[in-house]
């Protein structure tokens, strides 16, 4: 598949869903419609994040009409597909990609000197952030034995909203023997933001993935914190033997018992970091979690690690007052996980 800056079809989300009956759509539209993606889901046993239902807490938002361009209009439905495969020289290449605004992908970078077989791609966005009514979806596929690192060029801002919500879905399909990393910059939640994110990872045999996530509850430098309305992010990881993990982050400040600024939840910390190191390789998850915990002890964030179910890797939680502290903890976890899984250090990221 060649790079294709697709032309948007316009119309509302409902119209998109009914495209099959209308008979007015092109083959490409059908292939990329919800039905088309769902069909792929059935064939390969791959779980697609964007095929998931909306969480009940978002259902009232979904009924709120948008004062600006409708859901599904140009620029409101970002799509990104990236497929990585091993070439003849044994290094991984980006062999297929498709991006629709606000996603943009400009090839791969070769700065990962410690891991020369990797392909690194930075997903970019020309927009200011996730706005109300945005529905973005990403599918990253690593074919057998591929090594891919995906990140973002800058922080993702979830902008202030007064109607509806923004949704970002990410699917990772990691083939047998492959390794995928998704280490994006932090997500910053502006006042009244409503964010729903679904992430689904499907691992083949002897495969692994490292995913990190940093959530910042506002523009902390201007004393803005926990003014957003709702943040929901669910991650699932499935392997050939079944589900390894299902983890949900659900933040709804100010609504009584659900406020996250409580003992045992976030306490007095502002920034939440998570790292999933998931694997179906033959590794001792407890030993790996001990290595990660050792790296995190006495670091700038309150952070530690534990072994995942099904001997499926390790899970890191990090809490801090500043995004940089949490980022530093997760970078250390990423580096140690890369050493444990691939016997190679994580690279310095050159974004600045």
């Amino acid at each position: 598949m060649a790079t294709d800056e697709a032309h948007a079809t316009g119309g509302s989300e409902a119209a998109r869903d009914e495209d099959d009956e209308s008979g007015e759509t092109t083959a490409a539209d059908v292939a990329r419609s919800d039905e088309g993606w769902a069909a792929k889901n059935d064939e390969n046993g791959v779980i697609f994040a964007h095929a998931r239902d909306l969480p009940p807490a978002f259902e009232p938002y979904a009924e709120e009409p948008l004062p600006q361009v409708g859901v599904g209009s140009p620029g409101k439905t970002g799509e990104l597909e990236a497929t990585f495969a091993v070439g003849v020289d044994g290094t991984t290449d980006l062999v297929a990609d498709y991006a629709r605004v606000p996603y943009h992908l400009s090839g791969t970078l070769d700065h990962d000197v410690g891991r020369p077989d990797f392909a690194s791609a930075y997903v970019q966005s020309p927009t200011g952030g996730v706005a109300q009514g945005d529905r973005n979806r990403m599918v990253v596929t690593a074919e057998a034995d591929a090594r891919a690192h995906v990140s973002t060029g800058s922080a993702s801002k979830v902008l202030s909203m007064d109607a509806n919500y923004g949704r970002v879905d990410a699917t990772f399909v990691v083939g047998d023997g492959a390794h995928v990393e998704y280490v994006p910059e932090q997500t910053i939640l502006h006042p009244n933001a409503r964010y729903c994110g679904e992430t689904a990872v499907t691992l083949g045999r002897d495969a692994s993935a490292i995913l990190t996530d940093v959530v910042v509850p506002g523009r902390l430098a201007r004393d803005e914190a926990f003014d957003f309305e709702r943040y929901y992010a669910r991650t699932t990881v499935d392997g050939p033997g079944g589900r390894i993990l299902s983890d949900t982050t659900h933040l709804a400040p100010g609504s009584g018992g659900t406020d996250p600024r409580r003992a045992g939840v976030l306490g007095d910390y502002a920034v939440l970091g998570t790292c999933y190191v998931v694997t179906t390789r033959d590794v001792d998850s407890t030993a790996m979690s001990d290595r990660l915990a050792e790296r995190l002890t006495d670091g700038p964030a309150r952070a530690s690690a534990t072994a995942l179910p099904r001997d499926g890797g390790a899970f890191v939680r990090a809490l801090g007052d500043r995004a940089d502290d949490v980022r530093e903890a997760l970078d250390a976890a990423w580096d140690e996980a890369s050493r444990a899984l691939l016997d190679a250090p994580a690279p310095d990221q050159r974004k600045y």
Binding site: S246, G257, A263, G264, T286, L319
Partner: protein, 253 residues
């Protein structure tokens, strides 16, 4: 529950079907007694060996008195017991006729319980409950699930085991959720009494103060789909992780 039923059968002298009413009352009383048994810390499922991270909260100084304890236990109820464990109890209760479906619930609880020590504590307690019930109740369904857990075919998490045995004993699913919330709190308060210089009256006050929260979280999660099972308490996670590597440990978790 209607507490008047057992004490005044036929008090009005208008009893027309005495035998049936008596046997219904007797069955109902036995069901309730079974529920009390599951709520009681006398039940040998190792409730006195776990603290679900509370030991580390005390070690780190985050929990130092009854007020701190009430705060953090409220978070456990709202974040873990309600949206994860009571969802599992209800789902296992509803699936009790189909052990493959019970195992699916069990797998979901395992995938949702990310702190390794919590999985260990929950499966140890679940296995013990199934063993006790298989021995005492003589129920072939419970015995069959106990065998599947023993053979490694299913994890045997406590809320799933409780949902299953409650259904087989005729205990209502909502009642089973309250039983679990109560026994979770008494286990945690028992741990707190050994970790802190917490008086018996203070422990009872915390338990009583949290009763409305327990009732509220059971009700709030009544319709939560098993797909939406969640346990989000990052500081509990971090304390549980730190506890795994703590030098001195009184409790399994």
């Amino acid at each position: 529950m209607n507490d008047g039923d057992a004490s005044d059968p036929g008090a009005g002298g208008t009893d027309t079907s005495g035998t049936t009413a008596d046997s219904t009352d007797a069955t109902d009383a036995r069901t309730r007694l079974a529920a009390y048994r599951f709520a009681d810390s006398f039940l040998p499922v190792g409730g006195n060996t776990v603290s679900y991270g509370l030991e580390q909260f005390v070690q780190s100084g985050a929990v130092a008195d009854g007020d701190d304890l009430r705060e953090v236990l409220e978070s456990y109820l709202r974040r873990q017991v309600g949206p994860c464990e009571t969802v599992a109890i209800r789902a296992a209760h509803a699936a009790a006729d189909d052990l493959d479906a019970v195992r699916d619930v069990d797998e979901t609880v395992r995938a949702t319980t990310l702190a390794a020590e919590f999985r260990e504590s929950a499966t140890k307690a679940g296995r013990r409950l199934l063993e006790v019930e298989a021995e005492t109740g003589g129920d072939p369904v419970v015995a069959a699930y106990e065998e599947r857990v023993a053979s490694g075919d299913a994890p045997g998490n406590y809320p799933v085991a409780l949902g299953l045995v409650a259904a087989r004993r005729g205990i209502d699913a909502g009642e089973a959720c309250l039983v679990h919330a109560h026994s979770f709190l008494t286990d945690m308060l028992g741990a707190a009494q050994r970790l802190l210089s917490l008086g018996h009256v203070t422990a009872q006050r915390v338990l009583d103060d949290l009763a409305p929260v327990a009732a509220a979280v059971v009700a709030a999660n009544e319709d939560r789909d098993i797909e939406r099972m969640e346990a989000f308490a990052p500081l509990v996670d971090v304390h549980a992780m730190e506890h795994e590597r703590a030098d001195r440990r009184l409790f399994l978790s």
